[in-house]
Amino acid sequence: MLARHTQHKALQWLGRQLFNRNDPEAFFDPLLERINPMWVQEYTPARVERVLSETRDTKTLVLKPARRWSGFRAGQHVNICVEVDGIRRNRTFSLSSSPLLWQEQGRVTLTIKRLPGGLVTNWLHDHLQTGAVIGLGEAFGDFQIPEPAQPVLFIAGGSGITPVLSQLETMAALDYRAPVTLLYFVRTRDDVIAREKLLALEARYSALTLNIIATNESKEPRYLRDQDLDAVPGIKARQVYLCGPKGLMDLAQNLLYERGFADADIHSTLFSVPSADLGNETLGGEVQFEDSQLEVDSEGNATLLEIAEAAGLTPRHGCRMGICHQCSCRKTTGTVINRLTGKASGPGDETIQLCISVPRGPVSLDL
């Protein structure tokens, strides 16, 4: 093991000398990609084997990643990378299949809803074809079911069902011995994602109770209410998992707090860009891009990435929601507010993520 490690190190060193890059294995990618895109080394390639239609605006991609991909645990997310009109776009999606499918067949699925105005989701829906190869990052995130088994309640909304699907499949396969309830909110009955799969799970996995609620079928919107929680047997002892639009997550959180739930028993996963309540704080300020010798003024809660792009710069970036760290950059001076947490940074030299950092007063960046 040690010998192999040393050998690998030596090869890496040699590769850096010969090819002038830190990922020498990717030097011949441009040629390999032409021969077989699955041979690309820079990222993990994944072939689109099938594209399944779930609802009118949701599709499931069945992917076969290269074998070197490290796999995942149920409930985790991945970044995918696609090229749209010459521009690489990275986006984060939850894996909707069980890790067992990866272990047994080397396949994973992503279930993706078309977002109004969403550049990447619309492209995936309209242009991605079976046989295409996309880039896959390593899985991350810890939206994971408790071990050993404890009673669980999932509250999901819309395409927030995707990580839950992965978890339910896994729990059913493991025969997870504790009551599991899913409250699944959809706009209308037609918007249920993976209906067959859910019904099959309910039939096969006796611990699961499924409650699908349509919010927009009656005159008055039918949102989550306290009675829904009352109907969950032994709710007090449940670990609760939330995944869905912000409105649903906030509502659920408040109802759970009223019932005396502690934060430790409520698990939520990132679904759309959450924004902390930045309150009445005056944000914005003069931003100095030192390497580009550029100074611009900013107002309100525009992020540094948005400010930089508006100023004509093109910093490296990825998910634009604080996940992938592609846009990490040195801040030399100034304070920024993290848009996700609302927390202020220190005033000095540190690495920040441009896409979620909002300047509070003057800020200087190595950009």
Partner: protein, 357 residues
């Protein structure tokens, strides 16, 4: 330099910005395809050259292998490395083509290049005393610079600089002229020297140690071929670069006339301080489109393969404002460079006397 009022300069700025904005709005798949094609071509040439080299005991293969590797290096340095490091492809969000992380196949480190070339040369273009690329501190190319006796032999310096061009460019940031005048100390340059040694060592190791040793029985042939390939690249890139600013009509500027200048004035300086040469498609590609030096200096961060497309419009803007657009055949432009190197190796007085006689 041509005198223009601030209002005229503002109009010039607007005219050029319009061209720039139009190209920016149109960037997309075509540009991505182009640069990827160039990268693929480079990889093929580099692999081909390296594979041919050990069979160089056959003279035609030696010539082909050396030329192939030389062209690979030219393509990587000029059309890919130089242009990528200008940020021409940053919008693609491809980490392997990003200006701030790209490292090229030459002695000069990407970081040093970004400082001395992207920043100093492109900001202070042709300002004597500020643009250290003007003569590279070894050549006197204008009467604005006082004549010293050693300038008499500067043609030899020019030949040496061309032959060892990658090392000259690599050491450019050392600022030897300032070290000599004790304006700066060696201690200040220590971090730079470390980086230079690391990258220079890497390049020398690759071409002059590793590949020859790998093919041990024919090591001298591979070594000779690699030296040849580097030489081809050195001579070609120095020639192209000299044609960009040191032709007869390329103007120089003083610090005073550029103090607190507007963007329009900067544009004017780029237009009048640069020079193009004409030629076929592959001549342009192998020069990294620096044959469109004027367009490059006006728009350093637009993908270079766009320069031929916008050249007509840049020329129209020049005509409109009565600015000389400096271009000519490669032979003609290079001829004026050689003349200029020779001409300024002699003091102004002497030339004047010769004229009078």
């Amino acid at each position: 330099m041509k005198k223009m009022t601030e209002a005229q300069l503002a109009e010039l700025e607007t005219d050029l910005n319009a061209i720039r904005d139009e190209v920016l709005a149109d960037l997309g798949e075509r540009d991505a395809r182009y640069i990827r094609r160039m990268v693929r071509l480079h990889r093929s040439l580099e692999a081909g050259g390296r594979i041919m080299m050990p069979f160089g005991f056959l003279p035609p293969v030696f010539v082909a292998g050396t030329a192939t590797l030389g062209i690979a290096k030219i393509l990587e340095n000029m059309e890919i490395g130089h242009n990528v490091m200008h940020g021409q492809y940053d919008w693609m969000n491809d980490p392997t083509l990003h200006s701030q992380t790209y490292e090229w196949d030459t002695v000069c480190t990407g970081d040093s290049w970004r400082r001395t070339h992207n920043y100093e040369h492109h900001t202070y273009t042709n300002i004597i005393g500020k643009d250290r690329d003007y003569g590279y501190a070894v050549l006197r190319l204008t009467d604005d610079e006082p004549w010293k006796p050693w300038h008499a032999l500067q043609f030899i310096n020019y030949i040496l600089l061309s032959v060892f061009f990658q090392w000259g460019v690599g050491l450019h940031e050392l600022e030897t002229e300032k070290l000599r005048s004790r304006e700066i100390s060696w201690r200040e340059k220590l971090p730079f020297m470390k980086e230079f040694a690391r990258k220079g060592g890497r390049q020398a190791f690759k071409d002059y140690v590793f590949f020859p040793l790998l093919t041990f029985p024919v090591a001298p042939i591979v070594l000779a071929g690699n030296v040849g390939a580097n030489l081809i690249r050195n001579l070609w890139s120095s020639t192209v670069i000299f044609c960009g600013h040191f032709t007869q009509d390329a103007e120089t500027f003083t610090e005073e006339e550029c103090e607190g200048e507007s963007k329009g004035h900067w544009y004017l300086r780029q237009l009048t301080g640069s020079s193009n040469f004409t030629g076929g498609r592959w001549l342009h590609i192998l020069s990294g489109h620096l044959s469109y030096q004027v367009e490059h200096h006006v728009f350093p961060d637009l993908p270079a393969h766009r320069y031929p497309e916008i050249s007509g419009r840049v020329q129209a803007v020049c005509r409109k404002h009565g600015i000389h657009y400096n271009t000519g055949s490669f032979a003609k432009q290079y001829g004026t460079v050689v003349k200029r190197v020779l001409r300024y190796s002699l003091p102004e007085k002497l030339i004047g006397m010769a004229r009078a006689a």
